[in-house]
Each structure stands twice: as structure tokens, then as C-alpha cells.
Symmetry: none
Subunit: 228 residues, 2 copies
């Protein structure tokens, strides 16, 4: 399971950090740069799947940055973030091959769904990366088919078991926060759903008990962590 890499250029440190934290929490590998020059250097050094650029930045504005990057990569999706909502700017942005253009202030959730919409279309370019398979020690976990395979023994997981294990796998060795998991899988983080989640953690532990190198540990008051 490959992580999507996002290059984020935003000179407002507050907004930048906020966005970065949020995107990382949503499992996007996010690199933040505080101006256009730094973002350009970063782009040259590392491969990315998606760009999110503020327009007004020191050293190199978002439009110029996009133009320069388009010279190197004409396919990578670009989303512009800006306080300017003037028509000419929007048009200019799309002329540079933007995939979306969001005017501040915007909600983080809206940015997220727009990112997903763009990636959904971009992913179609290379349609093989849907393989949702994880190696867990002696086990192989197929999130799509909801199977947990251990040699010749195949355990069929239920939907909830599979969704939860997948979230844990996407955050190996990191804390999967309760409320995030609940909102993602149960769409509501009330007391009863939280207890239900605990029950599923027990179920998963039982399923994985044959492999001592894998453990789901609790982080008190925070959530769970899959370690391996």
C-alpha cells in the first residue's frame, strides 16, 4: 500500500502547519515548504503525487512555481489555494493546468474531498495500485477480499474487522487515534461505538495471536498502535 505524497507550498506558517498536520493525519505523506523557491527545490529532489500551492508567496509565487513545475512534469495534479478570488486569477490558474482552485477561507474537509476527487481521476492513469495487500509477519492481509492468510489457513474477516485492521496497517507503529477510527469506520464516535471498537480490537488480537512479532497495543486515552 503506497502512500500518496503531497507537496504543500504555503508561506503562512499557521495555516501551513495546520494543513500539514491534517493531511498527515489523513494518511497523506505531506511536505511543507514556506516559499516557492524551497518548494521548487523540494520538487526536484523528491517525487510527488500532488501539489498544493498558495498563490501569494515570497521568492516565487504559486503561478510561477506551477509554470516551472509544468516544464518538468506536465501531468502532476496541482491545486491552488488563495485569498484572491478575482476571475482573472482563477482563469490564469486553470490555464496553467490546475486541477482545482480553492478560495480562502475553506474548510479542511472540503480540501480533503477535492484532493480525493483529483486523485481518483489521476489514479486512473495507472490503474494497478489498487492492491491493498499487507504483510503482517507470517500473515498476509488482503483488505480488498477481507482475507487474513496464514500459510494454508485462510481466515475470512468481517467488514468491520477488515476496515479496522486496514486502518491500523496504514498507521503501522503510529498511534491510530480512537476518534479518527470511529469517525472513519463507524461515522460517529459515541460511547457505544467506542466499546464496539474495543470488542473488535480483541477479535483482531485473537486472529493475530500466532505471530508474536505483531501486537496491537493500547495507548491510554489516545487509541491503538499496531507494532511490528
Amino acid at each position: 500500500m503506497e502512500q500518496v505524497k503531497i507537496l504543500l507550498a504555503e508561506d503562512d506558517a499557521n495555516l501551513g502547519l495546520l494543513l500539514k498536520e491534517y493531511l498527515i493525519a489523513k494518511n497523506y505523506n505531506t511536505t511543507l515548504c514556506e516559499d516557492g523557491d524551497k518548494a521548487y527545490d523540494e520538487f526536484l529532489k523528491n517525487p510527488f503525487d500532488l501539489c498544493i500551492f498558495d498563490i501569494m508567496m515570497p521568492h516565487r509565487d504559486g503561478f510561477t512555481l506551477a509554470k516551472d513545475i509544468r516544464l518538468i512534469n506536465s501531468e502532476i495534479p496541482i491545486i491552488f489555494l488563495t485569498a484572491k478570488s478575482m476571475k482573472e486569477d482563477v482563469l490564469e490558474g486553470f490555464k496553467l493546468g490546475a486541477d482545482d482552485y480553492m478560495t480562502k477561507p475553506f474548510s479542511m474537509e472540503e480540501l480533503l474531498v477535492r484532493i480525493e476527487a483529483v486523485l481518483r481521476r489521476t489514479a486512473g492513469v495507472k490503474p494497478e495500485n489498487n492492491q491493498e495487500e499487507f504483510k503482517l509477519g507470517r500473515y498476509t492481509f488482503d483488505a480488498k477480499k477481507q482475507y487474513l492468510v496464514d500459510g494454508d489457513n485462510t481466515i475470512k474477516l468481517t467488514t468491520k474487522e477488515s476496515e479496522l485492521l486496514k486502518l491500523l496497517c496504514n498507521n503501522v507503529n503510529k498511534v491510530l487515534e480512537r476518534n479518527l477510527a470511529l469517525k472513519t469506520i463507524w461515522s460517529d464516535d459515541n460511547y457505544f461505538n467506542a466499546r464496539s471498537m474495543d470488542v473488535y480490537i480483541t477479535k483482531l488480537r485473537k486472529h493475530l495471536k500466532e505471530e508474536p512479532s505483531i501486537e496491537i497495543i493500547n495507548v491510554h486515552g489516545k487509541g491503538y498502535k499496531l507494532i511490528m
Copy 2:
């Protein structure tokens, strides 16, 4: 270069005509429908490359229309146009697989550049309205003739079997929600029809049992998912 066909659903006759004229002037073959029902019928009759839907419309609102169309074609790009800018609506729109979401009032030029941005990404996705043939591993499913072919062995499917399998195929690897399938095939989602649907799922599973790479899995409380 074939002309791009746009299905436009907008109940405000003034705005609708204005948009239609504008899009036609920009060389988009545009069909205007004044409500959701007419748009749905039009979609069933002819193949399109892009949908542009108003949200608030008589007979069938834009969201419902999109949901119904997604059952038949899960790939066609959809842009929502609306006066509602509330966060929940935007998120709802994208959850239905929207590609963009524009809040009125907007400039026609901005709509145009956003259309172009969407089409740039979806280029190569041919309109699959009339696609009636699906490859299911070793099987070939002809939805029109209601045949399921496996080498020299041809199984004749009943109408309901075929309709259900077609819906599943149109949503491969995604959850086909019970109530949507029931509304589409049985036109009513009461308890008995739901049970009938379960019976047909069993029948389909039996028909597809020779191909282990294909499975119809249940998503508890939600619906079924054809995975391959």
C-alpha cells in the same frame, strides 16, 4: 477529435439556456433538461462524456440524480452547480463522486476552465453507457443478451439475475447499496424485495463459483460488493 457530449440539468430556464448556448458556442454538444427525471431518461437514451447538474430541481434533485446515474456508470465525471454553499452539501456532493462543485453565482469562463480541467484528467475514459459486456475473470457477461459465458459453456441468466449482476459490474470494487439496487431493479425497497435480492445474490454466487478471483461479498447493513 470527437465532440464532447454534455448532459446539463438545470431547472432555471434562463440560466439553463444561457449555459447551453455558451457551451455549444465552445463546441460542446450540450443537451439541456429542465428537471432530474428528464435528465435521467436522457442519460439512459444517449451516451454522454460529462454531466453538469443543478442540485435543487423539481422531480429529482441533483444529488439523487447523480446517485442513480452512478449506479449505471461509476466513471462519468459530474460537476454540481448550486446556490447552496453549505459545507455538508459540498461534502455530500463529493461523496457521490463529484469532480467539481461550483457555487452560484459563477462566471461562465470559470465553468469552462473547470470543465476543461476535469476533461483533461478523464481523457481516454470512453462513455460506457452502452457497455453491455463485462469481463469477469474466465467469464464474459453479456448483459444485453443475458448470457454468462465460460469458454464453451453458456449460462442463460434470468432478467433479475442479469440486472443485478449488471449493477454490480457497474460498481466493481465498490459497495452497491441495498436500497439503491432495490429502487433500481425492484422499484421499491421493502423487506420482501430485500429478501428476494438476497436470494438472487446466492444464485449469482453459484453461477460465478468457478472463478475464485471473483467474489460477491456482503457489507453488513450496507449492501454488496463485487470484487475482482
